[in-house]
Amino acid sequence: MSVEQVPIAVPAAPLLAAAQVTHTGRPKRHLARRVARSWQLYLLLVPPAAYTVIFLYWPLYGLQIAFRNYSVALGISGSPWVGTANLRQFVNSFEFWTVIRNTLILNGYQLVALFPLPIILAILLNTVRSRRYSRTVQMITYAPHFISTVVVVGMVIMLFSPDGGIINQAIGGLGGQQQDFLSDTWFRHTYVWSGAWQTLGYSAIIYLAALSGVDPELHEAARVDGANMVRRIWHIDLPGILPVMVVVLILNMGSMLSTGFEKVLLMQNPLNLSVSEVIDTYSYRVAFVSPLPQYSYAAAISLFQSVMGLCLLVSANWLARRATRESLF
């Protein structure tokens, strides 16, 4: 089953679907005339196309500095080629395994912990009978999605502070040991569960949309046959939204390495660097923090990450097709 057949809101679906344009079977000789007649429409497209070329395609062209030794004086195409030297430098570097390990653990933890929760939330919301209750819960739980990363991290820093934060006050009040939740022992948990706070409600939307497509008559029939709620969820709702679950899982795995860069950077401090230094932040540090900016090296690092992400996406897709007969492509 391809993604176009999934009749619900999948983030990737619009992207893929947008490319689906039906062919008109008109003869070729009319093409020139049709192009000429549509010149006003093409003119409308000029500003957005110019924006796309300058700010999206030109950087793609600039990505070649990953294989060059970029210097400001020589520019992108003038700097000397060095082949894969930058990539090799990264793979052989002292930090390589640390950042790879940190990236995989942090994102793997996030994926495993946060993938099932929106599904559960959506199923719970879907079976709520009071429309008002369901809407109130949705309204409130979507809200954190619209709050900035800086504010979320700020709230974490303030509320979890070992120096008078409310959480540590509560722990102290209950007789527990106060904790520094941004230290290397806690960093991953704090990162993942503050992410849960921010994204759970919103991530449930897609499953709610899928659940609304499940035929209510199936439920009625099962009810008459004496199936209780839990059994009906297990045998009707879950199989009904399985395709969406697979698509979301594949997409999450594909973007697994690149998500959360800004948040990790904001939460980083010298005390948690040993677990919080991920590929993205390392690349950022090489380019912008070190006294001698190594743009080529940094670009090679992020290219390495993109390629790894693509491999993950493809292998997740392959696994999904093997296991459930559902896949994205």
């Binding site: 999934v6 009749p7 999948v10 983030p11 619009p14 992207l15 679907a17 947008a18 490319a19 039906t22 192009v35 549509s38 006003q40 429409l41 409308l44 497209l45 500003p47 957005p48 924006y51 796309t52 700010f55 950087p59 793609l60 600039g62 500095i65 719970l124 079976t127 709520v128 429309r131 809407r135 109130t136 949705q138 309204m139 409130i140 979507y142 809200a143 954190p144 619209f146 900035s148 800086v150 504010v151 991290v153 700020g154 509320l159 008078g164 409310i166 409600g201 939307i205 709610l208 949309a209 009625e220 009810r223 008459v224 209780n228 709620m229 800004e262 904001l266 690349s283 743009y295 670009a299």
Partner: protein
């Protein structure tokens, strides 16, 4: 608001189902309260008496009403500038982003546009393979945009997601018959776009404006790498710098006694709470208006 479905029970609930509902409603209530609590706590703290925060007496509601944190913000030129910069970036980003999105979305929605498929791919490809931070930074620098307001507004001005929902909106809400009728009357594509399509697309224009404004308001990273001039900093970046300081600037407290120092640290904590409130309230006010359209848009986009 939001996606919701309802099943009308025709048969009486079994005991098991009743237990299910009790658990369901309580889990949802607990989750909702735990989402709500930090927001309320931050709001309450920002309005509380300064000493009440450090003593830990603020639990849920404000303890002893005081506005001095907000007064401090109001009297700090750095914070007021940050706020005004954020407003500027939000408004400018919303306008630039919406104009680009509508200009791209309308022609791409026209099924009679030759090469529509290729053009759509042209806009999609960079989302699938994006170049990353460093090449983009080098281009922005090469264009001489570093340390200008343009560096915040232009890179990332248009997002493909908005383009898709806008294009879908035009496909669904501007009937072909209208276009044909206008053609018979001799209207050009320009005239049809300005006089028919644009007025019909007010809702999607509003959604675009709000989306881009929220994104700009919440953004800090482009300011972080493209700007060094503090007078151009948006509020989020100022907030980040302040949060990064664990306490008051040591140079400003030299010579003061312990009691004064304590008081400053307490006020500083409260100031952080108040700043968090200022930075998060605008998107929270705006989001209920976008949310409905967002879901609708996402559904349209995928169905199409």
């Amino acid at each position: 608001m939001g996606v919701s479905t309802r099943r009308r029970p025709h048969v009486a609930d079994s005991t098991g189902d009743r237990a299910y509902y009790i658990i369901n409603y309580s889990v949802l209530a607990m989750f909702t309260l735990s989402v709500l609590y930090p927001l309320v706590y931050v709001l309450s703290s920002s309005f509380s008496r300064t000493s009440a925060i450090t003593s830990g007496s603020v639990k849920l509601w404000p303890v002893g009403l005081s506005l001095d944190a907000y007064k401090t913000i109001w009297h700090s030129p750095q914070l007021v500038t940050g706020f005004l910069n954020s407003v500027f970036y939000a408004v400018a980003g919303a306008i630039v982003g919406t104009v680009l999105t509508v200009l791209a979305g309308y022609p791409l929605s026209r099924s009679d546009l030759p090469f529509r498929r290729i053009l759509t791919f042209f806009f999609l490809i960079p989302t699938l393979f994006s170049a990353g931070i460093i090449p983009t930074y080098l281009i922005v620098r090469q264009l001489g945009l570093l340390n200008t307001r343009w560096a915040i507004i232009l890179p990332g001005a248009m997002t493909v997601f908005n383009l898709i929902i806008t294009r879908a909106f035009y496909q669904l809400s501007v009937p072909k018959e209208l276009l044909e009728a206008a053609r018979v009357d001799g209207a050009s594509d320009f005239r049809f776009f300005v006089q028919v399509a644009l007025p019909l697309s007010k809702p999607i224009i509003a959604v675009n404006l709000l989306f881009y404004a929220i994104a700009q308001w919440n953004g800090w990273f482009s300011a972080f790498i493209y700007l060094t001039n503090e007078h151009l900093y948006p509020l989020q970046l100022v907030l980040r710098e302040i949060l990064a300081q664990s306490s008051v600037d040591p140079s400003s407290i030299q010579g003061s006694n312990i009691a004064e120092l304590m008081q400053k640290k307490q006020l500083f904590d409260k100031l952080k709470y108040a700043l968090i409130v200022v930075a998060m309230v605008p998107p929270l006010i705006a989001y209920p208006f976008v949310q409905k359209h967002f879901i609708k848009g996402a559904l349209i986009g995928s169905l199409k």
